[in-house]
């Protein structure tokens, strides 16, 4: 036994000495992520000293349907909860990115548009449109609460407000601002906001966002987030309460962030009654304004104006839509109330009246028959599924509005573009485009509208997480839904050698789609299905969402929370998927087959002889066999050895075996162990792509059965380039496959198979499918000839 121990320790020390290979992949992330602090603690939760600033708005705004302009004034109350005294405040004027001298004008954001270097008619029209339109937000007044003018400086999309005296920690500052600007024609000037003009009836749909001067965020990790808005990276904002009085033509319908305060004034009695009824309707959307009423309204002219008053608490932004063309439908979301019903039952809280959360859609007749069928249902579905994975929806309403904007999210309201063709038909993909975009945009209420991550610095924290939950939501809508564009082509993308890590700052990432949406979504799916498992993952994810609702998390808060709440060390996972440019490519290099030697010469010697005899003979030997031999001619040349059977057990060998058995008995090892009939297979793998992953294997046996095996990623712990697995089975192995269901984004499928088998290219598969089917041709003769024979003679 001592010899055994010695052998074992020798073996181990050899193993350690050999692992000079990098184990850095499993190294803890501590040196890479920011140090925990009283603001953001080591478990990934907001610390005792966590702070965030706040901005409340009281806005009066008028939308002029004739001039197509916005004019407004606001009283802004800024709360400085930080420990720092601030000498200036930054205010975002994002609308200025459409002004004449904007940075983005030199090369308009062509992600959604057409290239201006090729002169087609549409390009010419856009060029003219850009020349004529100046979307600059004209500030007509900027004063303190008493009306004294405040010194300020405008740098394109950012306004710096110089405070008369430093704003102390914990203090408030109130200022008043008035502004106006012309609204852009979305068809010609593409943006996340604007109007759509319908030539047929002469009316507009207005979907308005980024329309007011918004406080920039002042953060603990980067100070003021005051980079210019160039149209791609989105927004970083503070929470606050909004009261907005919106004046529009009196025949317009308005949807906005928040709850309508003066329904008695702006809605008709019929509309109010229908809304009340809709509150009890959870199965089918109800019209609050019917298609017929909307068609009639389209032809009308306003007699005056109406002011709609909205109140929104704890939101980070405010958007609205207005038009006389709108059809309005509504449905109550089953299982969602405002305020949210607490999870634990009992007590006074239970007896409180909680009206349901309302899912509502606004769309012109051009949106039918698609919008009336799917939009409101998609909103309700999103709220129900997202709430299951995170927290109860904490707002009273969720709107989906059809207008010129393809898809964009704001608290409680989103703008979505897909519409049927003019003839009322639509291809299947438009249906999925609508449902998918509604799910995605309503989902954004959760990430980043409530879990308020910084979209500028880390786009993946909202887009990646939202895409991931969107995926789960679509899976629960119907079977076999194929997902959004952004996750496609991941395998091809990860095969590239010139990528940047996901954790690179968003503004400098060229491949934003794959980096912000695709890779994080793929990573989270793998984390959920194959590393943590659904239960542990869902609990950790929910913990993260609840810890950071209405707060501002950073990536390390997410990484730490997921580990803290799941109990699994995931530093290797974050490092691999978020901080490196490794990819997944595991190769099954070799499978070695061994069988145990029983050590009993009575068994082994005949076995060895049999194996030797079964070896194929050389041709030479075979031919020489029939030649006459001298020992047959002269038998006296034969001796003991000629008749000796190699399989005979010698007494010394028998004695050796008996003493081994004795030794085993003394050590209390059962000698029967030596007789085991199992096969030993050693599966040798190498990690070609570098990205450390759990190893999913499928083993096929010669008896026709197969089994799936899962080895945790820790198998790569001591050597991140090679690993092996010992398989101990009575059956005989036929084949081994890595990632049999192709779920792990492996970039080279051919080295996943052992024994190797070639994988046909897509082209070859396509050609194979097109090959003529001789059986079909021969068994079904030409029908024409039969018919000719059967036809009666005339």
């Amino acid at each position: 036994m001592n010899r055994l121990l010695l052998f074992l320790s020798a073996a181990l020390s050899v193993a350690f000495a050999e692992s000079g290979l990098p184990v850095g992949k499993f190294q803890q992330l501590d040196q890479t992520v920011p140090t925990p602090s009283p603001l953001r603690n080591a478990s990934g939760a907001p610390g005792t000293a966590y702070w965030q600033n706040r901005a409340d708005y009281d806005i009066n705004v008028e939308l002029d349907d004739v001039k197509r302009t916005i004019s407004a004034e606001a009283t802004v109350t800024y709360h400085n909860a930080s420990p720092d005294a601030l000498t200036y405040l930054w205010v975002q004027l994002d609308q200025n990115y459409l002004s004449h001298n904007a940075d983005s004008r030199a090369v308009p954001n062509t992600k959604r548009g057409v290239d201006l270097t090729k002169f087609s008619y549409s390009a010419l029209d856009r060029l003219v449109a850009y020349e004529e339109y100046d979307g600059e937000m004209k500030i007509s007044k900027l004063t303190d609460a008493k009306g004294e003018a405040l010194p300020h400086s405008i740098v394109k999309t950012m306004l710096r407000l110089d405070l008369p005296e430093p704003l102390a920690a914990g203090a408030n500052f109130v200022f008043k601002i008035a502004w106006s600007y012309p609204i852009n024609d979305c068809e010609r000037i593409n943006a996340r906001t604007g109007y759509e003009f319908f030539k047929e009836d002469g009316n507009c749909i207005y979907t308005i966002a980024q329309w007011f001067p918004r406080m920039a965020a002042y953060t603990d990790y980067a100070g003021w987030i005051n980079k210019q808005f160039l149209g791609t990276g989105e927004f970083t904002l503070e929470f606050g309460n909004y009261k907005v009085s919106l004046t529009v033509p009196d025949d317009h319908l308005v949807a906005a962030t928040g709850a309508l305060q003066n329904a008695d004034t702006v809605l008709t009695e019929t509309q109010r009654e229908r809304l009340k009824k809709a509150q009890g309707e959870t199965k089918k959307p109800m019209f609050i304004v019917t298609p017929e009423e909307a068609k009639a309204a389209e032809k009308g002219k306003p007699k005056g104006k109406k002011t709609w008053i909205f109140q929104a608490d704890n939101v980070r932004d405010f958007a609205f839509a207005s038009s006389r063309k709108f059809i309005w439908d509504a449905m109550a979301v089953e299982g969602a109330t405002y305020p949210p019903t607490p999870e634990r039952k009992g007590g006074i809280a239970d007896r409180m009246y909680r009206p349901p959360v309302m899912a509502m859609s606004l769309y012109p007749k051009e949106g039918m028959p698609l919008w009336d069928k799917y939009s409101t249902h998609a909103i309700a579905h999103t709220i129900q599924v997202y709430s299951k994975y995170t927290f109860a929806y904490p707002y009273p309403v969720a709107w989906s509005v059809n207008g010129p904007v393809g898809g964009m999210e704001y608290p409680m309201i989103c703008f979505n573009g897909p519409r049927p063709e003019k003839d009322g038909t639509y291809p299947e993909r438009t249906k999925y485009a609508l449902i998918g975009v509604v799910i995605h945009e309503v989902g954004h209420n959760y990430f980043p509208m409530i879990v308020n991550s910084d979209e500028r610095q880390w786009t993946w924290m909202d887009e990646g997480l939202n895409s991931f939950v969107e995926y789960l939501t679509e899976e629960e809508w119907e079977n076999d839904w194929n997902h959004r564009r952004n996750e496609r082509g991941m395998v091809d993308y990860m095969r590239l050698t010139d990528r940047v890590p996901v954790m690179t700052n968003s503004e400098s990432i060229a491949d934003l789609g794959p980096n912000a949406y695709g890779q994080p979504t793929a990573a989270l799916n793998i984390l959920r299905e194959h590393i943590l498992g659904r239960e542990a993952f869902d609990h950790a994810f929910k913990t993260y969402a609840r810890r950071w609702m209405f707060k501002r998390p950073t990536p390390s808060d997410f990484f730490r929370t997921m580990e803290d709440a799941s109990g699994v060390d995931l530093d290797w996972f974050w490092r691999g998927w978020f901080y490196s440019v490794d990819h997944v490519d595991v190769s099954i290099d070799e499978v070695r087959w061994m069988q145990l030697d029983t050590r009993d010469p009575a068994i082994e010697k005949p076995k060895k002889k049999k194996e030797k005899d079964e070896l194929p003979q050389t041709l030479t030997k075979e031919r020489n066999y029939t030649l006459p031999k001298r020992v047959d001619l002269f038998p006296e040349l034969k001796d003991f050895y000629d008749n000796f059977d190699e399989a005979t057990v010698l007494p010394s060998e028998k004695k050796k075996f008996e003493s081994l058995l004795k030794e085993l008995k003394e050590e209390e090892i059962d000698p029967k162990l030596l007789q085991t009939k199992h096969n030993f297979y050693v599966i040798e793998m190498s990690n070609v792509g570098g990205l450390v992953m759990p190893v999913l294997l499928k083993i096929d046996y010669t008896d026709g059965t197969s089994e799936e095996l899962k080895l945790p990623a820790e198998i790569w712990r001591f050597n991140t380039e090679r690993a092996s697995k010992l398989l101990f089975t009575k059956k005989e192995l036929k084949a081994v496959t890595f990632d049999p269901r192709q779920e792990l984004v492996d970039t080279d499928v051919e080295n996943n198979f052992w024994p190797r088998r070639p994988v046909k290219s897509k082209f070859q598969l396509f050609k194979d499918e097109k090959a003529p089917n001789p059986m079909r041709e021969l068994t079904k003769p030409e029908k024409k000839d039969d018919e000719k024979k059967a036809a009666p003679k005339k």
């Binding site: 030539k199 573009g417 519409r419 839904w481 082509g489 993308y493 082209f763």
Partner: protein, 173 residues
């Protein structure tokens, strides 16, 4: 036949309805393998149907839809487009004309389905020294990325973007 200017707003509106939300991924993937028996480079190119239709509409300046346009006409438009945007030149610099094989739709239960285009380029001299200009959809989107996996003795993944769309596939040693 309405004049182009009259059709313009219709074209623009259509362009709208096919465009999705901000951050849309503009990427295509492709596989290419040289078949020594037929002496052709066999290519499969997967693009988003929405993007392809938009490109064909701009090219022909008329309405084109994969569901409504007759198949032969649609294929003809694709081939004309590929002739300009997927150009293989042999070692001597001669442009080789691709042969159309067919196309296959991806799953339609999808908000942004794809279509895979199959075609083969005759290269009697083999792959050595050939170059590829791959600028499919780059005329539509500034950020279009075209990935291509060349399967050979090794696998090489190429990335073509606007401004870097011509590469040598297999350099002579």
């Amino acid at each position: 036949m309405p004049s182009l200017l009259q059709r313009l707003p219709l074209l623009l509106t259509l362009a709208f309805s096919t465009l999705l939300h901000a951050h849309s991924l503009h990427q295509s993937t492709a596989e290419a393998e040289y078949n020594p028996t037929t002496q052709k480079l066999e290519v499969s190119l997967t693009v988003f149907i929405n993007d392809l239709e938009l490109a064909l509409m701009r090219q022909s300046e008329r309405l084109i839809s994969i569901d409504k346009t007759p198949a032969a006409e649609f294929d003809a438009h694709i081939q004309a487009y590929l002739a300009k945007t997927f150009v293989v030149t042999d070692a001597d610099g001669k442009t080789m004309k691709p042969e159309w094989v067919g196309r296959e739709l991806g799953s339609l239960k999808n908000d942004d389905p794809t279509v895979t285009l199959f075609f083969a380029i005759p290269l009697p001299e083999g792959l050595v020294g050939t170059s590829l200009l791959h600028s499919v959809l780059c005329d539509l989107f500034q950020d279009q990325t075209n990935l291509l996996l060349l399967r050979n003795t090794q696998k090489v993944e190429f990335k073509f973007v606007r401004g870097d769309s011509a590469k040598q596939l297999f350099s002579p040693k």
